[in-house]
């Protein structure tokens, strides 16, 4: 058994262990969940140290036959792209468990079910990134919806059932289109590659044989599914509802990890399998991405609810990521992948701290807060730093990725980059408006007695802030993993970085 299979199985084994603890003993359950998720994170870091960054092939591979008649295998492996996303996911889960210690209480079911769902979800999060078989990926991609559905519907607030159903149906719709494309892959691979296969590496040959129309259709099936997941304008409306209804911890995993499966899929499947179709659709996608950037920002500015605001900022950030992915320069591609990683942490910080604020105030309306800087200085600072990271202040991690995306996009699509740059002004607005309303000004009634962060909360948020600052100053550790694979993606899609226009030939 390869070590990444072990990594993927560890959380679900932990879930079995949690199931053995009586539901009344919720403290023991939480401790156990924290222990398991921390162990998973430790194992993932160990695997990362064994990873050879210069190699762009899949590593730690493992293959077993699953449904030989259709050429379906259980095959897994990781490259730089999946490694950074796995690292981000497994680091976020224990932080979420620790930060959102009490949100499992008061749900429809017991705390035990909550943590079992979280652990199952973690297995799937790892599984979806390590799968190198398209069918295996599809199965996990769809199965991931189940724990999230129950987490939102069972433990959320407000119109949680409606939001959960909306999320489920939106995602299933995308999944259906993807299934059609997967059947298409089966048919075409049987026709052109000799035998049906779902192996990613083997399928990269497929585009040489199939007609442009077929390729475009197969591409669209995947792309729409991922664009819903990511989410890209105008397929985004499930996100604010789901993020608002879910518990803060669920929202962190939803926006931080699950949505990344969308952008991950765009790189792994859309671009790698259908490079010609990607080229065809790039102009449209870039336009949609730029719209997402500005649209998300404007909606965040207009948002009155803290959780919806954070969700809209994410739509804007996903616009940057998708623009970077399809700009097809090594800077933009590296920037987009790094952005996925950084966005996980900066959104986690926003949601976690925002969640604490909401839990204390028992309201998520921004106008209900006021003057928190004087009442709860540490919490206010954490929110402020998370906000600065979201507006991509230089020196914090998001800046590096956002700037790489912009500079990389500019070399190929200057107009898109210039318009997207307006996003940085809007970002200042959508962060500073809630900062002013919630943290500054006089302390408004109802906020005088709010308690500041306790030790557990400080321990939970510290690593997030540390990552945000450390990677802003020294992004090399993550960039070193990303750069080779990003360059490889751009190169194998048939692109080279544009040379400087004014000194060409010199």
């Amino acid at each position: 058994m390869s070590s990444i299979t072990a990594l993927a199985l560890l959380p679900v084994l932990g879930a079995l262990l949690v199931a053995l603890v009586p539901s009344e003993n919720s403290l023991r359950i939480k401790q156990l969940a924290l222990g398991i998720t921390t162990a998973v994170a430790a194992l993932a870091i160990f695997i990362a140290t064994q990873f050879v960054t210069s190699n762009t092939d899949f590593q730690f591979t493992e293959t077993h036959e699953w449904i030989p008649a259709f050429g379906i295998n259980y095959s897994v492996g990781i490259d730089g792209l999946s490694l950074v996303l796995i690292l981000m996911s497994v680091l976020l889960v224990p932080i979420v468990v620790l930060a959102c210690w009490n949100e499992s209480e008061g749900g429809r079911w017991s705390a035990k079910v909550f943590y079992i769902l979280i652990l199952i979800l973690e297995t799937m999060m790892i599984g979806v990134f390590i799968a190198t078989d398209v069918f295996l990926f599809y199965v996990i991609f769809e199965a991931m919806l189940i724990p999230v559905y129950f987490l939102i519907g069972g433990y959320g607030s407000g119109e949680r059932a409606a939001a959960a159903v909306k999320f489920l149906i939106y995602s299933l719709f995308g999944g259906l289109l993807m299934l059609a494309s997967i059947i298409g892959i089966y048919v075409t691979s049987r026709q052109y590659l000799g035998a049906p296969t779902f192996d990613i590496t083997a399928l990269t040959e497929l585009h040489k044989f199939i007609s442009p129309t077929t390729q475009n259709l197969l591409f669209l099936g995947f792309f729409i599914a991922f664009a819903i997941k990511a989410p890209l304008w105008p397929l985004h409306t499930w996100l604010p509802d789901a993020a608002k209804a879910g518990t803060p911890g669920t929202s962190v995993l939803l926006l931080g990890v699950l949505d990344k499966v969308g952008t991950f899929g765009m790189i792994r499947f859309c671009i790698s399998l259908f490079p010609d179709a990607s080229k065809t659709f790039t102009p449209v996608i870039i336009v949609l991405a730029v719209i997402s950037i500005l649209y998300g920002a404007f909606l965040a500015i207009g948002a009155r609810d803290l959780k919806r605001l954070i969700a809209y900022t994410s739509i804007s950030h996903f616009g940057f990521i998708i623009m970077g992915i399809f700009a097809m320069t090594s800077q933009a591609q590296s920037g987009a992948i790094l952005y996925m990683f950084n966005h996980g942490f900066s959104t986690a910080a926003l949601f976690i701290v925002g969640g604490w604020m909401i839990a204390r105030r028992r309201s998520s309306t921004i106008a209900d807060f006021g003057g928190l800087q004087r009442v709860t200085p540490v919490m206010a600072w954490m929110f402020f730093i998370a906000g600065l990271s979201s507006l991509a202040l230089p020196g914090l991690s998001s800046f590096v990725s956002e700037f790489l995306v912009l500079v990389g996009t500019y070399t190929r699509y200057p107009v898109a980059a210039v318009i997207a740059t307006f996003g940085i002004v809007l970002a200042a607005l959508y962060i500073l408006i809630p900062v002013q309303k919630a943290l500054h000004g006089p302390t408004t009634p109802g906020n005088e007695e709010l308690p500041d962060l306790n030790l557990r909360e400080k321990i939970a948020i510290a690593p997030v802030v540390a990552v945000i600052i450390a990677l802003g100053i020294y992004p090399a550790p993550v960039l070193n993993i990303i750069n080779p694979i990003a360059a490889h993606i751009v190169e194998s899609a048939g692109f080279t970085d544009p040379a400087p226009t004014e000194i060409a030939g010199k």
Partner: protein, 631 residues
């Protein structure tokens, strides 16, 4: 270029101070201000040490670099975290850390009563570190980090008393307007990378002369936008007046002496870009000329002493930008005016702070008057700064401002006399409004509120003022003696350095003209204010021009109608359409499914025979269909 290992301490010391105070929390309340002050002073000492080392080296070896680590490296995009200390940056290093340290000392006393003094000092140290990074970065991207860092520090300090909603809004306004400028800077970096493949000053400088003019013009205009935002130049000037919400030492340090002059630094540092882009250069000149008049006019109508000084800052930076826009002839003089202005304006702001300290934090000059007797040191130091800004010989401003006026006259063609006249008019108005400030505050009859007891400030406050006053007296002479600053800086400006010695009007005549303008301005102010009684409340029956100037020529109204209102409308429309149109479509699909279910449900009558009939009809239809198809 030689490398060094000690430049980083310039930044590291204040950065450590900021981190220690912010992370240490209340534990550091007792000694935090001392730590912060010593860190800033330490930075100044390191700066002096570097200067002495630099003086020991030959002219061509004076610039040194220090590579800290590789910051971002992707494909051809390689940016090192690397520092560059040359003749230009050392001037700024000494100004920032020197004036910065004086203001730290001043603040110990000024902020003594504030429960959050530690936080204030942490922000000040953060600012010093960011500002030093701004002037020490060896590439546009490193500069950008400092550029936004000072923006953050400025935001935190303007909103230091953000309990008051207006102050919180002022800080937000400053940050957002600065971000508009930052957008220009990031676009400049993108263009530079896309066209020249580099973002370092050295790299851009190397390729600047053989790149196309269009590319350099684009970079130049973007850099100008950045400078305009940071330096509160037209049309992004509106934030500076509101920024006076911050504590007065902040106004002295950030919004007079250092941060707002970063735009001038950026333009002068990018001299190679502007030399290759005449159109961008012309725009720089236009912006400078407009702002110097605009700021001066606004200054004439303000009753708030800090806002009057802020308008003056805007106007004086207009002079610097104008100087920088005049090309190789003006770079050194822009920097010289920047340095002298750093002394006299910081001194005057501290003087204003000292006045406020003695007057229960009153800022309305109409409620001052006659303070000369009660605050002699403040009066003398402020007065020396006043003489310096007016350009009275032999005070500092005389040298630096005259040189800019001279260069403006010499800039050739029709432009020369026009710009020269504008700078002279600016000088006259400056004289008018500064005299007005002096009269209203110090020499006219007392118009205090009843419970005020004006008194001189403690030594920790007046000592920095005295030192800055000495600077305002002496620096002009020191910088011009044997063209010392000009020669010192000339290697930075490459082979273009040095200005032509042919003059349109002889320098002596220019000086005479400038002095004449100044005396006209002073006389009008004396006639208008010294002779007449001054109302405690600003008179309402004033000319339309005064009313306009009081409202900053409607800059807020313009911004509101042009950007904020449409932006709000757009936001509202988008918020509504997101709910109604996009999500409406999604919900519509859901409702359609439910609705069609409701219709079809009616066929489920429960009567077994109707089901049977349906089956029969269906079967017949199918058979008929097959029959038709197969026929």
């Amino acid at each position: 270029m030689a490398t060094s290992t000690s430049i980083v301490y310039l930044i590291a010391l204040p950065l450590f101070g900021a981190a220690a105070l912010l992370l240490g929390g209340r534990r550091t309340n007792k000694w935090g201000h001392l730590l912060a002050t010593s860190m800033s002073a330490g930075s100044f000492v390191v700066g002096l040490y570097q200067l002495s080392l630099m003086l020991d080296r030959a002219t061509e070896d004076r610039a040194i670099t220090q590579k800290l680590f590789t910051w971002i490296s992707v494909g051809d995009f390689n940016v090192d975290a690397s520092l560059l200390l040359d003749q230009l940056s050392i001037c700024f290093v000494l100004l920032i850390s020197g004036v910065g340290t004086l203001i730290h000392i001043y603040s110990i006393s000024y902020m003594a009563e504030d429960p959050d003094r530690r936080r204030f000092f942490a922000y000040l140290n953060l600012f010093i570190a960011a500002m030093l990074l701004l002037v020490l970065g060896d590439s546009y991207l490193n500069l950008y980090v400092g550029w936004e860092g000072v923006g953050l520090a400025s935001y935190l300090l303007i909103g230091f008393w953000n309990k008051k909603p207006a102050y919180a809004t002022a800080s937000k306004k400053a940050f957002v307007m600065n971000r508009v400028g930052d957008m220009g800077l990031s676009l400049a970096i993108m263009i530079a990378f896309a066209t020249l493949g580099t973002t370092t000053f050295a790299g851009v400088s190397e390729h600047a002369h053989h790149a196309s003019e269009a590319a350099m013009t684009a970079i130049g205009i973007m850099l100008l936008i950045a400078a305009v935002g940071k330096s509160a130049q037209f049309p992004l000037q509106a934030w500076l007046g509101d920024a006076m919400a911050g504590p007065t030492p902040v106004s002295a340090l950030i919004h007079a002496a250092t941060m707002v002059t970063a735009g001038v630094y950026l333009i002068v540092r990018s001299n190679f870009v502007f030399d290759a882009a005449p159109t961008a250069q012309l725009l720089v000149v236009i912006v400078g000329a407009i702002t110097l008049l605009l700021g001066a006019f606004i200054g004439t109508a303000k009753d708030d002493i800090k806002k009057a000084l802020a308008a003056s800052t805007m106007s004086q930076i207009g002079y610097m930008i104008l100087g920088a826009g005049l090309g190789p002839a003006g770079y050194a003089f822009a920097i010289m005016h920047l340095l002298t202005h750093g002394f006299f304006k910081a001194g005057m702001f501290l003087g204003a702070g000292s006045v406020m300290h003695g007057m229960n934090d009153e800022v309305d000059m109409r409620k001052f008057g006659g303070l000369r007797k009660f605050m002699p040191i403040t009066f003398v130091t402020f007065g020396l700064g006043y003489l310096a800004i007016l350009g009275v010989p032999p005070f500092a401003g005389f040298y630096s401002k005259d040189l800019i006026i001279e260069t403006a006259f010499d800039s050739g063609g029709l432009q020369g006399p026009l710009l020269g006249t504008i700078t002279l008019i600016g000088a006259a108005i400056t004289a008018f409004y500064m005299t007005r400030v002096m009269i209203l505050t110090f020499t006219s009859k007392a118009r205090w509120d009843e419970d005020t007891h004006p008194h001189e400030s403690p030594i920790l406050m007046w000592l920095p003022m005295v030192i800055l006053a000495i600077g305002s007296v002496s620096t002009g002479y020191l910088f011009t003696r044997g063209d010392s600053l000009e020669n010192w800086l000339s290697p930075v400006f490459g082979e273009h350095g040095g200005h032509s010695k042919e003059h349109l009007i002889p320098p002596l005549v220019v000086s005479a003209l400038a002095l004449l303008s100044v005396s006209i301005g002073v006389s009008i102010a004396i006639i208008k204010y010294q002779r007449n009684e001054i109302d405690r409340i600003a008179p309402a029956n004033v000319s339309i021009f005064t009313r306009l100037a009081r409202r900053d020529f409607g800059q807020d109204a313009i911004n509101e109608t042009l950007f904020m209102r449409p932006g709000q409308v757009l936001t509202d429309v988008l918020v509504k359409s997101d709910d109604k149109v996009i999500d409406g479509a999604v919900r519509g699909i859901g409702r359609m499914a439910i609705g069609s279910g409701a219709v079809l449900r009616k066929s489920q009558s429960g009567f077994a025979r109707s089901y049977a009939a349906f089956i029969l009809i269906g079967a017949i239809l199918m058979i008929a269909g097959i029959w038709v198809v197969t026929q």
